[in-house]
Point group: C2
């Protein structure tokens, strides 16, 4: 029996939403093409994300674009070369390779979360788990890095990787972006782009791909000033959404409804900004047609989190075949990434935070009289001065008080050569390493989910009831009959008007009008305009609503504006007169 | 002295258009980030391309998206594994590697177009060309493949490559896309996405990148029905643009103006569709601010063309530092790619072309009497029948007539076992392999060119005079003075209105109004709205034009509509009343 996934896959292939890439070569798992309607839908999903995450927050959030390929040092710094791995095991007989944790979990039916490679090897030996293809013996479990590896330029040693997430592009460019924004936190840097994850054996079609598109934001905040980090928090404080904390999960409790404010106050969510962007993500998925009751935020446990994360929630949506799947991850990355890049690059990635008023502090400074020391130490004097100036002032003053001289190795530095003075210093601010909150969406999963929530069957026909403003094709134009040139001429004229106005329009004059409505419904065209004989008399056409199949009569001159309003959610009845 | 390229690079870094990627790690040549304004500009450049190439032709042209990584067979079929190479030579002393042709051309000052690897090695030896760094001896010239290579999945043998062009994604998906479009030619398949070319030593910054974005279309036509392949040709037949054919170039002639019709009739352009899309490309670049006189189409010579091309024009634009640079390539790829993929995949990538009326033809068929042959040849009978049925009917009937038998190797097949019959066959159509016309734009170059053509200096200040509808930031909102809360409140309210209407807006209340105008001009904000004391009385603000610095007074309520019209090109004077 075919489930919803099968139905959507069939429709997606036939009508041009998506299909496996390189089919003519037998396909290759983990790669999918988006067809014409899939690409239009994806572009609208991306534009909506831009609207929710960037445009509405444009004073703080900007979009950048960084390359897919990066030199290895970037992913050494980020920790991916070390941590971005899956356990792999080979059959000693046929040579096939498997994800070791999946193999063990399937064989034993229990979770192996947090198991080391040695643990997995041991379990495989003890339970005599064997190759699922030829029952061959399995070897030792090893670590397989999921980064796609390549070489940059003509020298073999110059390793590069395809990014597995967008984040590192934002971290390595942080300083430049911050400068263009006058170094004032909070700063959100968003990016939309392709990533690669070289999965060992991806099997869930559009859900687990080796190459896909991510929409991601790194939101940089001042960790000492969290109250001002999220200027829009109050607007969403009372929005309710479901959370399942890791403890709730361990206790077997269902996700529960909380307002944003409650979730933050109860410390279920450790940071206001993290919570705020979760709400935006929640409302964003809602705008694509996923109801709040089909969605929740699942906190990841310590072993499930990525190496950079202090707290992570998966935003999960229910789908027919796989149950709850992650469409987004919301992570508190702290200062992990910027600190690592500072360590590896030696660049200063801090932000200077000016105090409201500069502070004057009294501080002790050591002054060394080089003319005295020069006479004693000659050319060694600079080394000695250097050592003294790197010593803590307290230890110098203590020695001088106690001994009357300063001991450096074998040398006794006389009291008169070292003076400790009290000076006033004006401090105008301090350097901080911003913390980072990251919402990250997988576009292809969002696209699949959108299709599944749009899918309806009505009187044996399929309708994709997308929210009108994300429908790939926005309107259809039909002449009532297929061979009447008067009707066709009017219909073509209307089609051209709508195309010139920038709409995405389907023109179809083949087959019965009923069949054409059905074809348009199947790809989710929200509005269909039909030119009939009355049109030739009074310049009106029928506007048919995809979801209700109701119709009204609209003047041709008003159609572009009526369509704009309809796509924004206007009621059909408000756009024309009822059919008489 | 800094040239325009230097000025733009400095501005681009400082204000956030673009900068070298991974700067904190010392950068890596051939990779650039787009900053906030660069990304906005790029997105508008892409939307404009969609408008010109896809949306206006939406009945024939669709957009798809295919992966960046492809299994090796795809690029074996496409010819890239064999042909997508540059000659490379190493210094035997320091080990540095160079592009051999560039090295020779720089050393000798002459072109080495069409030279083989052996030719280049010989020239290097004969002229004793040495390493430019340490004067070391150079080795033999070798071939370096520019494909970024990687491994797909956990098996070492599974080679994958990053695509160097988008085209193969359209060819491998052609069958599916054609089906969704009812297999009716012409069909344009467009794609916008990243590609990788592992250049040996890229040096021209944004102009020659190792990873960049392409906007490309494969336009599939019926080679036997070229008149109907380009239904929009007449609309552009009289558009004039400059062409320099390869022969003109050889003769040292300047490019000349032709209408599209002339160029096709004179056979300067070998195909109508190729010419049509060149015109669209010409008008597209015009819409980004490049005048026709700064642009022409340069035909490539036989040695300069890619291996798949029958004719190629570079669409070149003049820039300050490098002279004429290619922003797009327009190629006639014929049936090269589909044929190669048919050969490598064994898939049928033809399109069935129905005849208007089916034809009945009389045809001769060979009928072999297996029972007779079976008695003679036993188990060999199937091989023999197979051989007979693969022979041309004419040669069989000739032999039978002449000899009275058929000779297959040593065997004599008797007359009575082979009958030639005349049969009637109904033919409803035929299979054709479509030909392909390809316009292909490099987004990053287009972006750089757009910046260069927008760049102006006026009274010592920099203005980016983008065409208004592609400006990254569409409007600025300023309170006249920086510390007046009444003005700030009104300005913030106006800012919010414009953001809610979907505009990209700059709000700035720091520094003198003159400095703020200058900052906005420098990033090319076309419209600036300033809230002043009169605003508090009559709810009007000034609208200032970036290019003329003229101002008019507009009612706040009318601003969203006025801004929309202004961005579409309305005259300032038509949008408000003159300042009094």
């Amino acid at each position: 029996m075919s489930d919803l996934y099968d139905k959507i896959s069939e429709l997606a292939k036939r009508r041009g939403f998506f299909w496996p890439s390189y089919e003519i070569y037998g396909g290759i798992s983990g790669f999918y093409d988006l067809g014409p309607y899939g690409t239009l839908l994806k572009n609208r999903i991306i534009e909506k994300w831009r609207e929710y995450f960037i445009r509405r927050h444009q004073e703080y959030v900007v979009e950048i674009e960084s390359p897919i390929v990066a030199p290895s040092v970037v992913f050494e710094a980020s920790g991916h070369v070390e941590h971005f791995t899956d356990p792999i095991v080979s059959c000693l007989k046929c040579g096939r390779r498997f994800r070791a944790d999946h193999l063990v979990e399937e064989a034993l039916g229990t979770s192996v979360e947090g198991y080391s490679l040695e643990d997995l090897s041991k379990v495989i030996r003890e339970h005599n788990i064997r190759c699922p293809f030829d029952n061959g013996e399995l070897g030792e479990v090893k670590s397989f890095n999921l980064l796609f590896k390549t070489q940059i330029g003509p020298y073999e040693g110059d390793i590069g990787y395809l990014r597995p997430e967008l984040a590192q592009g934002m971290f390595t460019a942080f300083k430049r972006v911050a400068e263009t924004m006058r170094n004032k936190l909070p700063i959100g840097i968003a990016q939309i782009g392709r990533v690669g994850r070289n999965e060992i054996s991806p099997r869930q079609a559009m859900i687990r791909l080796r190459e896909f598109t991510i929409m991601e934001m790194e939101y940089f905040i001042d960790p000492e000033d969290k109250d001002n980090a999220c200027p829009f928090f109050e607007e969403k404080a009372n929005v309710k959404f479901r959370i399942q904390s890791y403890n709730m999960k361990l206790r077997g409790e269902e996700p529960q409804w909380f307002t944003l404010e409650e979730a933050v106050e109860n410390k279920l969510i450790i940071d206001k900004c993290l919570g705020y962007w979760m709400v935006i993500g929640y409302e964003y998925m809602g705008s694509l047609g996923v109801p709040g009751s089909s969605m929740f935020f699942q906190e990841k446990g310590p072993h499930e989190r990525a190496h950079y994360s202090k707290q992570t929630f998966d935003q999960v949506v229910r789908v027919s075949r796989w149950g709850w799947i992650e469409v987004a991850g919301h992570s508190y990355r702290g200062d992990y990434d910027l600190s690592r890049h500072m360590l590896y690059s030696k660049a200063d990635l801090t932000v200077f935070k000016p105090y409201k008023e500069s502070i004057t502090i009294k501080t002790k400074k050591v002054r060394v009289d080089k003319s005295i020391l020069g006479k004693i130490y000659k050319e060694k004097v600079y080394d000695i001065v250097n050592i003294i100036q790197n010593m803590p002032v307290e230890s110098i003053s203590e020695q001088l008080e106690k001994q009357g001289y300063l001991k450096i190795g074998d040398h006794h530095i006389p009291l008169e050569a070292v003076k400790i003075e009290e000076v006033e210093e004006k401090i105008t601010g301090k350097k901080i390493i911003p913390h980072v909150v990251e919402p990250s969406f997988g576009v292809d999963r969002v696209l699949y989910v959108t299709l599944e929530y749009a899918y309806r069957e009505k009187e044996g026909r399929v309708i994709l009831s997308f929210p009108r403003d994300i429908a790939p094709i926005q309107a259809a134009v039909f002449p009532l009959l297929e061979n009447d040139w008067d009707l066709i001429r009017e219909a073509r004229a209307l089609y051209k008007i709508l195309v010139d106005e920038g709409f995405q329009v389907l023109y179809d004059d083949t087959g019965s009008i009923g069949r054409r409505y059905a074809r348009a419904d199947e790809i989710g065209v929200p509005a269909a305009f039909t030119v009939d004989y009355r049109t030739l008399e009074d310049k009106t056409v029928t506007l048919r609503d995809r979801d209700t199949w109701k119709q009204v009569r609209v003047k041709i001159d008003n159609i572009p504006q009526a369509l704009r309003l309809f796509l924004k959610g206007a009621r059909l009845e408000d756009l024309g007169s009822p059919l008489s």
